[in-house]
Subunit: 458 residues, 2 copies
């Protein structure tokens, strides 16, 4: 059976024989008995296995090393020892797969940096077992929220030939032989490439998402996303996952309602299903994490314009590293201040158009766009969204101003000619959410096998 | 409100005023009244809107073209007309977004080929509304099945520097400038590339999945996958989605149990939630679809070896295009015959090692591997899986035989040294499943924006 199933009905199993397969996480040996800290990975809580020299292979059992896979039979009992409520008194312990002496994950504290170099083994530790289970449960929380609210999950394409985001921010993808690139008139001849033209890996599914929102009303994407940024920071990775909902007949206010409701629902879902993991994070990673999450679930998010935000920042008795300015972006220190000022999550709306994307709706003032960023305490910007520009001519103007090549996105423009309507959408970086949920600070520690500049091992 | 919510409680709403936003799918005008076929995309069923010249903007309403977005208010009533049970007697009809006269999706039959050229508009048709909703619900069915069974969802990386699958089958990915490739000793200098070496987009998450299965016991992946094949067939695309579960302490027999249980569960889930869509497919796409699905859910899948399969094929009184042979792969015509022979899904096990992957467990006969393909009536091979080779030396031998570069996957080999155990996994092409569920034959018609050789529009 699986440990998670045993744990669910553990009281009923006291006195019964159980059989488990899993791994040795720790092994303490005494002369006449021993204790195995056992995990099969299906749950955060481990199980103590007690064995004595009454077992005929006692000497062999004592040789079993940490990391080995074993099969055990025994009787579940209340534990008299400290540190656990239950234990299994083994009647059989069988080694299935040995663990060589150089096994890197020993029962002691390893640094996160060391464990990154053992990315393929680190999910066996308490910390990463908890992180990656929360990641899985949070992904399900997101799917559950949107499916329960009549959203259609759309798999937008990753390969694209449109360079509307600026091709220098996208990976190029090719089947051509670098050593022998076909040429025509001195240029690389991409007509020989698989798609007959230059192709990229896209960084957003939004444009395609809009097309589907104009058919299904409510849609969301959830898939991997790529950036070529050469940033070696705690929050940047070149491959990460993103959620991009897009909703027809939805203005900026309704969009904020949805973002707030979704986030609370996802946090609740994870709190209900991962209490042991969150307690562990609260104890060992971020003191106060549970309070933070509980508070979020019960708070009313503040809504304030970018202009009023700058006013508050300017009036603050703080020595800024970057002076806040009307018409400009805000820095990490400002994000932090404003969430502390309002003591909770803050929606900042109506941003200066020049620092936001070309597809966002231009407000009547001609200077700001109907965009919204959600800032949360401890994680900064968690979501970014906007009402979309639905006026064909205004959209074309903005594309021209921002040097977007309209030829490759003519179809996107056409959405404004064929039954367009007020619609809005947002993007949420999935890793940002996991960082927020776990308190783990470095994006490298919430992605199973992270890709960052110069790092693409495993 | 949304049409899907109205439909759920439609009896209760009779006589009540409702307000909806959505699109005009058809518009039939009479002199003193008119009928609008209305959809907001949230449900397959459309709603009839009846309006009369009592409305003060009657003349404007009559000008509303197919494809336009509108807002309507009215009273829900039982319909006296044919073709629908209910209709809304409009008290207000407001045009929100006009549809230009060249709108390509008119209320008549369009060919799938034509609609592929209008990929951004085709989800507005009945067929593609149904296909892409089923796709969304089927994705949720898969997540639900695995999460309910204690599997951890793992986001395995797409970017890789390991060419263990053969780099000629993978897209190359780069940030280098094609026009100005950095050179060193006459070769392209990939140390200047973002990851400091040549990088690819992978076609499988299995190796990484195995690492996580050795920590969580049960894991699955569900993400996009890429192939560079230059095949223009009904079943090939260069970008598609795949599910790859991997299970520790699981042999080939248990793997088949899981595959069978999962497939039945997913089919049931979709049947429960998309009855209107499946009925539509049954009527207009694949006659007998519902029978096929019902039969699958209630059948016991056959299990037979590759050798016995060849025996049956050889004994068959059939003129084959490709003669079945021991030790060789089977062709589409054989797959079809064998599912008809057993009148249901068939697991074919123990395949000749030379036609299967290097990581599959070598059987004691030294000739076959513990692999299994699931063949289903009407869709051919739906899943492919195997027990994995867990013997370190045998695995290295197979890698050498198959020319796999072990340097890039040393970590994968190490999984056999650090608490390895019997484990198995399978892959299911998500589009194959959608083809099976909908009866739609061409993979281009079950992917929102398909990518195939020479085709990367939108």
């Amino acid at each position: 059976m699986e440990l998670v199933e045993l744990n669910k009905k553990i009281k009923e199993y006291v006195g019964s024989e159980v059989e488990l397969q899993g791994w040795v996480r720790n092994h303490r040996k005494q002369k006449e008995f021993g204790f195995i800290e056992f995990s099969d990975g299906t749950t955060f809580k481990r199980m103590q296995i007690v064995y004595t020299n009454e077992l005929k292979n006692f000497d062999d059992i004592q040789k079993i090393r940490v990391g080995s896979s074993i099969s055990i039979k025994g009787v579940l009992a209340k534990s008299e020892g400290k540190g656990q409520d239950y234990e299994i008194k083994a009647t059989e312990v069988t080694l299935l797969g040995d663990s060589d002496e150089d096994y890197p994950i020993q029962p002691k504290r390893h640094s996160n940096e060391f464990l990154r170099e053992q990315a393929y083994l680190r999910p066996r530790t308490n910390l990463f077992n908890a992180v990656f289970r929360v990641r899985s449960v949070a992904a399900m929380a997101i799917h559950t929220y949107f499916q329960d609210h009549n959203y259609v999950y759309v798999h937008t394409p990753l390969i694209t030939t449109a360079d509307c985001e600026g091709s220098d921010q996208m990976f190029k993808i090719t089947t051509l032989d670098f050593k022998n690139l076909p040429k025509k008139d001195g240029e690389v001849d991409f007509s020989k490439d698989l798609f007959g033209k230059e192709a990229y890996v896209t960084g957003t599914g939004q444009l395609h998402g809009e097309a589907f929102a104009m058919a299904f009303r409510n849609i969301y994407t959830f898939g991997p996303t790529f950036r070529t940024e050469k940033s070696n920071t705690k929050t940047h990775a070149n491959e990460f996952w993103m959620i991009e909902p897009e909703i027809a007949f939805c203005d900026l206010n309704k969009l904020m309602d949805i973002e707030e409701d979704m986030l609370k629902s996802v946090v609740k879902y994870v709190m209900d299903r991962c209490p042991d993991e969150l307690e562990f994070f609260d104890k060992f990673v971020e003191n106060g994490l549970l309070d933070k999450l509980n508070k979020l679930v019960n708070s009313k998010f503040t809504r304030i314009t970018h202009e009023d935000t700058i006013k508050i920042l300017k009036e603050a008795k703080v020595k800024w590293e970057f002076e806040p300015e009307y018409g400009e972006d805000i820095a990490k220190e400002h994000e932090k201040y404003i969430t502390e000022y309002f003591n909770g999550p803050v929606f900042i709306t109506n941003w200066p158009k020049d620092i936001k994307a070309w597809y966002m709706k231009l407000n009547d003032d001609g200077k700001t766009v109907a965009a919204v960023d959600l800032e949360v305490p401890g994680a900064g910007e968690l979501m970014g969204g906007s009402e979309r520009e639905i006026d064909y001519d205004k959209l074309v103007n903005r594309m021209n101003e921002m040097n977007v090549d309209r030829n490759t996105v003519e179809w996107f423009l056409n959405l404004r000619r064929y039954g367009g309507c007020v619609h809005s959408g947002f993007g949420m970086g999935f890793e940002r959410l996991i960082i927020y949920l776990t308190g783990v600070e470095n994006i490298r520690d919430v992605i199973p096998f992270p890709r960052t500049p110069g790092n693409c091992d495993f």
